[in-house]
């Protein structure tokens, strides 16, 4: 299939507009979502407040840097629940019912279509809350991140989103073989909860798992370190390379899975 960027951009824009129009019909959800976002951010903040009320530093992290990690966690959770989860939950349902066949018939790449079917725009509140926490942490530090640090952070966050998305695509690909996958999606969300602390809090085997196997470190700790200016260039490049490799792997598995797809009815 030839690559047609303009075409795909238009499809994406239409899909986003549809989601926005749908969301606008349930405006009360905006308030509910806002309240929930505040509640969950407060919940995540609470142990840190108790902890740093007594201690100055934990595993080499002071309060403000730990707050940056928590802010990025909140932001990334917003991205996950707003832009990645809704579409991919929908596709798992379609695979189960057999409606996925129609997606395959459409004249566009199936992975692109299933990844952009639905968005939950109200989760933008989580993203703003996360950014707010980061901004507050930097006012506590009394300085602002430099342009280079900001650019590195944005690149790492993009890599983190790619990794999160790739994990999801792997789960969806698994749904071609094992039909009931929707609660595995919740499992991924539950594991992601561990990304709220700096990676150095985890010891031994757990740190290895959360760095290399389920790369939670890449999702919050490394971008936070980049923003604080404590991440080495080599580590940042390794993250970007790893994310690209992971993305390619997920794509390869997806293509393999599609080839083996036999529809729900056959």
């Amino acid at each position: 299939m030839t690559v047609r960027p303009g075409y795909y951009l238009r499809v994406l824009a239409v899909s986003m507009r549809t989601s926005l129009v749908t969301a606008m019909q349930y405006r009360a959800d905006f308030l509910v979502q806002g309240a929930m976002s505040l509640l969950w951010t407060g919940l995540a903040l609470f142990p840190l407040l108790v902890l740093y009320g007594d201690r100055d530093t934990v595993a080499g992290w002071d309060f403000a840097p730990a707050l940056v990690v928590l802010g990025l966690f909140t932001l990334m959770r917003g991205v996950l629940e707003g832009a990645i989860n809704p579409s991919l939950m929908a596709v798992i349902e379609r695979i189960r019912t057999g409606a996925f066949d129609y997606t395959l018939l459409k004249p566009a790449d199936a992975q692109f279509l299933v990844s952009t079917t639905r968005f939950a725009p109200w989760h933008v509140i989580d993203v703003l809350a996360g950014a707010g926490l980061v901004a507050y942490a930097f006012t506590r530090l009394g300085r602002a991140p430099g342009v280079a640090e900001l650019a590195a952070t944005l690149a790492l966050l993009a890599a983190a989103i790619a990794v999160m998305y790739s994990l999801w695509i792997l789960i969806v690909a698994a749904a071609f073989w094992v039909v009931r996958m929707d609660n595995l999606a919740f499992l991924l969300g539950a594991v992601f909860d561990a990304a709220r602390w700096p990676i150095h809090v985890f010891k031994g085997a757990w740190r290895f798992v959360f760095t290399f196997i389920i790369p939670l470190a890449l999702m919050t700790s490394y971008p936070a370190m980049a923003l604080l200016g404590t991440l080495t260039v080599e580590a940042a490049l390794a993250c970007l390379g790893g994310a690209a490799a992971f993305f390619a792997l997920a794509r390869a598995v997806w293509l393999l899975a599609i080839r083996n797809y036999t529809s729900a009815s056959s």
Binding site: G42, V50, L187
Partner: protein, 259 residues
């Protein structure tokens, strides 16, 4: 009742994989354990040593999984779709049939948390656990009380679907408050004073924190722990009463829909 329990057990076994994955999503105590054990690695945090934290959060993981149920989702779904009518036609009270289903899930739940229990007993965390018959008996009572209280709360929340369209959104709010006030994310001992007082007046700690505190020996003897368990049972019975009232009012409305 034995037949209903058997049916419930068969259902649990049929959906075992799904349920095991659900249980595995309870990662929050482990996430908190990672943070606090790293903190206590250097020096004890107030009265909690690293071993205390390990015992507390493993205990929280076990209690949470043993006492949890999904009756709120089940009930609100059946009310919304109208399938509750089927249940109403049967000669047993729907509460009894819900009770049987969720009691029958207990063996599988116990099986899944066994690794956590083994770790708790085999590692040095064992040192902080209670070992006298009196407190162990109270712990068993307290676990039963926590189960009943959770069941009552979820029944009451589920019954809200009689009155509200989006009652499931409330569950999320409920969970937020529960996590904060029950000792799920942080032991009551470590909360700031005013918050601890609030938590002690609310029912949430009796659903999780109370049995865990009892387990890790926060009460010196059975006499000191008895008032805790008594209050817990009072909450549990009171909450079942509230659920019963909400149910009676709700069913009247439900029938008025012509379902």
């Amino acid at each position: 009742m034995p037949t209903m329990l058997r049916v419930g057990l068969a259902e649990t076994i049929a959906y075992r994989a799904e349920m095991v994955v659900w249980i595995l999503t309870t990662t929050m105590p482990l996430v908190m354990l990672a943070l606090w054990s790293s903190v206590a690695d250097e020096a004890p945090f107030r009265q909690y040593t690293q071993t205390d934290f390990v015992a507390y959060y493993l205990g929280a993981l076990i209690v949470r999984n043993l006492t949890s149920n999904w009756v709120a989702w089940q009930l609100s779904e059946e009310i919304r779709l109208g399938t509750l009518s089927m249940r109403l036609l049967r000669p047993v009270h729907p509460f009894a049939s819900f009770l049987a289903t969720h009691l029958a899930a207990l063996p599988l739940r116990a099986l899944v948390v066994t690794p956590a229990i083994v770790i708790l007993v085999l590692t040095e965390a064992r040192a902080v656990l209670i070992d006298d018959a009196g407190r162990a008996g109270l712990l068993a009572l307290s676990l039963a009380g926590a189960w009943l209280l959770t069941f009552g709360v979820f029944l009451a929340i589920g019954a809200l679907a009689f009155f509200l369209e989006k009652s499931l959104a409330l569950i999320e709010v409920y969970f937020g408050v529960f996590m904060l006030m029950s000792g799920y994310i942080i032991p009551l001992d470590l909360m700031p004073g005013w918050m601890r007082t609030t938590a002690e007046w609310l029912p949430f700690r009796y659903m999780l924190g109370a049995p865990v505190e009892l387990l890790i020996g926060r009460y010196p003897d059975a006499a000191a722990a008895a008032p805790l368990v008594a209050t817990q049972w009072a909450w549990a019975l009171g909450m079942l009463g509230v659920a019963g009232l909400a149910w009676r009012a709700g069913v009247r409305r439900f029938e008025a829909y012509g379902a």
